[in-house]
Amino acid sequence: MTIESREPPARLIFRLKRALGGRAGWNGVAAQIAFAAVLIWLGYEIVANVRVNLETQRITSGFGFLKNTAGFDINQSLITYTGSESYARVLFVGILNTLLVSITGIVLASVIGLLVALGRLSPSWLLSRVAGAYVELIRNLPLLFQILFWYLAVLGALPNPRQSISLFGGVFLSNRGLIVPRPVAEPGFDPFLLAVVIAIIASLGLHYYARRQLFARGRVVRIWPYVIGALIGLPLLSALVFGLPLIFEIPVLKGFNFAGGSRVIPEFVALLVALSTYTASFIAEIIRAGILSVHRGQMEAGLSLGLSRGSVLRLIVVPQALRVILPPLTNQYLNLTKNSSLAVAIGYPDLVSVFAGTALSQTGQAIEIIGITMGVYLAISLITSAIMSFYGWRLGRSLAA
């Protein structure tokens, strides 16, 4: 007797049903379609009504204003900007200024946070108490207050440009910011740059060769004299042959302010210091928690293998701690970026200040401008968290291996 093979169930349909409707099956699918339809209808109604009402009140709408001339100046810009450029350029300048303070803030906050966390964990009584006091003081005071403190109390106390503090005759510190000599490229700059790049590549090559020798033959090759020779000798040679790569433009006091040189504005410094010290106090606690979450046996096992304390931390404890640290750390990075919008209080020209501020009130197009601004912050946040997720995924893979 043969057994007839039974018809296999319609796999694809079944899967689809499960995926879309969950346990509720087709009923669930129907409910979801109805829900989506209601959402789309609501969204359509909102957009359509706004359009009609804007039209009847004759309020200008649309994104055409981005091409119009802005007509106002901004005191810090990473790209060339003058008042005769468009609002789109203003948007771009604002985004870059926000990114500048956010990225430097994230790096600085991570470094300070790590140092404070290590301080809190250190066996030294004094160091751990100082680090603890830092965390409790900084994280419990409102951020806006700290920004104003740095701006008005600390940097506001600097002298005016005519009495500025001068270092080495070329660096000036005043209430207009830190003015440093500006490097200006000379004809010898390109060969110099080329020499540096060649030196770096040669050094990396030597390093690779030495490792291969060590692992393959067990031979220790001494490369550091050659590396130093290449890194210093090659650029020096190029400077001798082609002339000096750079000269420095020394700032001079002219009228009310310094002319020449590069300048770091005090608004940037105040915002950066306040944001990074504030966020660092949270990061310190996150890192400390992460390190403490690794079982003590791991440390002891590493030490008993004869590894140094530093090596155990670096090779065994930190990689495991990072798994715990990463998700809350991402939150802090996102917070720092979003908190940078407090810049408006002290006149740092960030996205909110120049675009959702000046541009908004000059064009009066609140819906479009607030919409764009929200979109930009959303994009920055999503990209940050995507990068962190990717890093976490790689970390998880390497730990699993």
Binding site: N49, Q57, D73, E267, V344, S353
Partner: protein, 338 residues
């Protein structure tokens, strides 16, 4: 402030989504029992709370005059302090009925914001405030200076135009609030503080040593300041317009807060028309016959309001200048009540 402007934007979006955008502002005000009036966050002489918390100032008096015309009670005003940035959104979203907040009348604001200017309460212009110690006598000597300015105002563009036009370099530092701007100027972050001249006199009072600072002679722009209403309700637009005109006409007719009752009994035809003892001009506006008397008894005529708030009778001591009546050397002129 950022949060406030976000709230207004959401309110604007929400307000605009409703189908029933009925624009009967007068009825809304009567139902509410209050005029909702957008004012500044504190500008001496124009809109600022006194030590008892009562709002005073020239802009405030417009709001009080409206409340007097509608309710015969100048206290029936709900004041909504707004910064330069979120003022228009508050008006567009219906949060306020009238924006009386030292706002400059410009073409783009008149057209693209969905609002109308109801007249000029104060003819102003942009100027510069500097420390006397700098020994600057003219704005043309300000090359390479750092300038503090409040964002969201016409001043930023005027500033850029003026320095560019005179081939001078400068650094601009823009703050969202007026207080922060003045504080930064006082701390020495900037050499110059710029805003409308009336504002310079008002803000100078807040400085530790007002006598150490001087307003430069150059006036670099025209800044006619006036109240603003939303598009789409012509009756309300007329009421705001004629409330201001009533104050200016009263000065011309010689009607003051004190003699208003007496003048109401006069048999001069123009006074009879204004006070409503002849004809029904007030009712044509949607108000009562005695609207004119109500306004003047509550806040006085334009000259009285000017003197009390910014002129000789105030701390600001600003001369009438352009703001004098047309027949006394100024340019304040109101159409006749007829």
């Amino acid at each position: 402030m950022k949060r406030a402007s976000l709230v207004f934007t959401l309110a604007l979006a929400a307000g605009l989504t409703s189908h029933a955008a009925v624009a009967d502002t007068l009825k809304t005000i009567k139902d509410r029992g209050m005029v909702s009036c957008g004012v500044s966050e504190g500008l001496a002489g124009f809109s600022i709370p006194d030590d008892k918390g009562n709002w005073t100032g020239l802009d405030v008096d417009i709001c009080r005059a409206l409340a007097a015309a509608i309710f015969n009670d100048p206290s029936k005003v709900k004041f909504q302090p707004l910064n330069a940035k979120n003022r228009f959104t508050a008006l567009q979203s219906g949060e306020i009925d009238v924006l009386s907040r030292n706002t400059t009348w410009t073409l783009s604001r008149d057209t693209s914001l969905g609002a109308n200017f109801a007249g000029v309460t104060y003819y102003d212009g942009q100027g510069f405030l500097v420390k006397k110690a700098l020994k600057v006598n003219s704005a043309l000597e300000l090359n390479s200076a750092s300038v503090c300015v409040q964002t969201g105002t016409t001043t930023e563009q005027n500033l850029a135009d003026y320095f560019k036009g005179n081939n001078m370099k400068y650094e601009v530092i823009a703050f969202s609030g007026a207080d922060e701007t003045v504080k930064a100027y006082e701390s020495g972050r900037c050499d110059v503080f710029t805003t409308d001249v009336s504002g310079l006199y008002a803000e100078r009072l807040k400085l530790a040593n007002p006598a150490d600072h001087v307003v430069l002679p150059e006036v670099i722009s025209k800044e006619p300041l006036g109240p603003m209403v939303r598009h789409g309700d012509d009756q309300w637009f007329d009421i705001v317009k004629w409330t201001l005109f009533a104050m200016i006409d009263a000065e011309e007719l010689g009607v003051t807060q004190k003699n208003a009752d007496e003048m109401a009994k006069s048999d001069k035809p123009d006074l009879k028309r204004a006070f409503g003892t002849d004809g029904n001009l007030g009712e044509q506006l949607g108000l009562t016959k005695d609207w004119f008397g109500r306004i003047i008894k509550a806040v006085g005529n334009y000259g009285e309001a000017f003197d009390r708030n910014v002129g000789a009778g105030s701390k600001l001591q600003i001369a009438r200048g352009l703001n004098n009546l047309w027949n006394k050397g100024g340019i304040q002129y109101a159409p006749p009540i007829r």
